[in-house]
């Protein structure tokens, strides 16, 4: 179980520099309120679709906020909405891992797409990124976490078993992410870019 402790500590420490960077910048009130709104929308969407197992809209919203407002906002929306939604659904040993996976997704979405995003050119790219994020980033990180939580031993066989048994769940998650990205991408990113331009955030 040393593995779980060490990896959880590393994961928490890896998120700290981003938070400190955000604090050092002395963010404007507008930025803070906008991130809080995005987090609240993400958490509400998760609680609406709570009844359908593994059909989660959170990743799609995190990607949208990363694409619309840049990597820092994406990262913060991801980590904080994973953290806050667990106030409703219960904190557990999985919280740091969820925060890390969501934050990483938002960060990458921002780094890859936020510079020159136009809906007409990049809509399929974002959807494909959603699939990759659900299966390879979120899925792999959470499966790794469950191996470390449950067996406490690192063996190739246990990891392979967890990844293979995780495939159906990750595919449902990827499907839900793509559906939400297809439905919300155009209008939401347009609104975010408009807010960004109009109020100079």
């Amino acid at each position: 179980m040393h593995y779980y402790l060490i990896s959880a500590v590393i994961i928490i420490l890896s998120m700290v520099p981003f938070f400190l960077m955000f604090e050092r910048k002395r963010p404007q009130a507008r930025e803070i309120v906008l991130i809080a709104v995005l987090v609240a929308i993400t958490v509400i969407l998760r609680s609406i679709f709570f009844m359908i197992p593994f059909f989660k809209p959170m990743l799609a919203m995190v990607i949208i906020s990363g694409v619309g407002l840049g990597y820092e906002t994406g990262m913060l929306t991801g980590t904080l909405s994973a953290f806050i939604s667990n106030f409703i659904f219960g904190q557990g040993p999985w919280t740091p891992w969820q925060m890390f996976a969501m934050g990483l997704t938002g960060l990458l979405a921002g780094v890859i797409f936020s510079k020159n995003y136009t809906y007409e050119k990049k809509k399929y790219h974002v959807c494909i990124f959603g699939i990759i994020a659900a299966v390879l980033i979120y899925g792999v990180i959470m499966d790794t976490a469950s191996v470390l939580m449950y067996t406490g031993e690192v063996s190739f066989k246990a990891f392979m078993a967890a990844y293979i048994s995780g495939i159906p769940i990750n595919l449902i998650h990827a499907l839900s992410t793509v559906i939400f990205l297809a439905l919300l991408q155009k209008s939401m990113i347009k609104k975010l870019q408009r807010v960004k331009m109009k109020y100079k955030i």
Binding site: Y4, L5, F19, A40, I44, L76, S81, Y199
Partner: protein, 296 residues
């Protein structure tokens, strides 16, 4: 009613949970893990008996059983072979013992998180994060406020859309999804616009000026400091004994545990005292309250 430990300062509660989580994840010693499990169960029962017992039997004990069953399937180390699986891998006594211990540890962590969720409410976590990351904690506070507000607004928008025949209760699935998307867009537009208004109001009231204090609803009392010092001392003694090898356990290649002696008993006792601290705190306060109540 909130009990005594729930009313303690957030830092005290945080130190307690970090100590117990840290030590019980750090080592899988039968006595230490067992103590953690028993004390987590007692704490859960003391805090909220009905819900805890429901969670214990529906969720935690199945998790323990899964944890017990998983390990022998993947781990074939150990020298005491009991049986061979059809694929030729051995089933060993050591891997079964390891599996049982890891199952109990998982159970103790789940049970402890029940109390964690009950005691460390969002305002307490916000206070703790606010000491290090004030802006992040502000975002958390705002998001927690926005959630009920947006839900309320969502129900208003839903009703208004239903009035003009664009509700989400349509039979046609295509129309249903289309109307739901429209409602989501209405909500998003409203949320972003009102957020900008709100932030302007914040600026007008002096957000971002230096030398601003914040409201702290928690008080650090003498007892908080005593409890924290006690936990830090006992915790470091236990961790020292684990690192220095005074208290140890081997699972592979064969099961071996430190000899039971005076030193080991002291460490076990200190760890049990640390784990049970909130239980004592709660029960003592209840006893004092009952004894002081007027008998008329």
């Amino acid at each position: 009613m909130r009990n005594q430990f729930e009313n303690r300062h957030p830092l005290t509660q945080f130190v307690y949970f970090m100590m117990v989580f840290g030590i019980s994840v750090f080592v899988m010693h039968p006595v230490i893990t067992g103590t953690a499990f028993v004390s987590a169960v007692i704490l859960g029962v003391v805090i909220d008996r009905k819900r805890f017992l429901k969670m214990l039997f529906c969720l935690y004990i199945p998790a323990v059983i899964i944890g017990i069953m998983i390990n022998p399937l993947f781990s074939h180390e150990g020298i005491t072979i009991l049986w061979y699986f059809p694929d030729g891998n051995p089933l060993t006594l050591e891997s079964i013992i390891y599996g049982i211990m890891s199952g109990i540890m998982i159970g103790s962590i789940f049970a402890l998180f029940f109390s964690f969720n009950k005691i460390m409410t969002s305002d307490r976590i916000m206070y703790l994060t606010g000491c290090v990351f004030p802006h992040i904690s502000l975002i958390i506070a705002m998001a927690l406020r926005f959630i009920p507000e947006f839900k309320h607004h969502l129900s208003e928008v839903l009703n208004a859309q239903k009035c003009i025949g664009k509700g989400v209760n349509e039979k046609n699935v295509f129309n249903k999804v289309k109307n739901a998307c429209a409602i989501a867009q209405i909500m998003a537009t409203w949320a972003f616009e009102s957020s900008v208004e709100r932030s302007d109001a914040m600026r007008a009231r002096g957000y971002g000026l230096r030398r601003r204090s914040r409201y702290v609803p928690f008080q650090m009392t003498k007892w908080d400091i005593i409890l924290m010092i006690f936990m830090l001392i006992t915790g470091s003694i236990v961790i020292y004994s684990l690192i220095s090898g005074g208290v140890y356990v081997w699972y592979y290649p064969y099961f071996k545990i430190n000899e039971a002696g005076g030193y080991a008993y002291i460490v076990y006792f200190l760890y049990a005292a640390m784990c049970m601290l909130p239980v004592f705190d709660i029960l003592l306060e209840e006893a004092v309250w009952k004894s002081l109540r007027s008998k008329i």
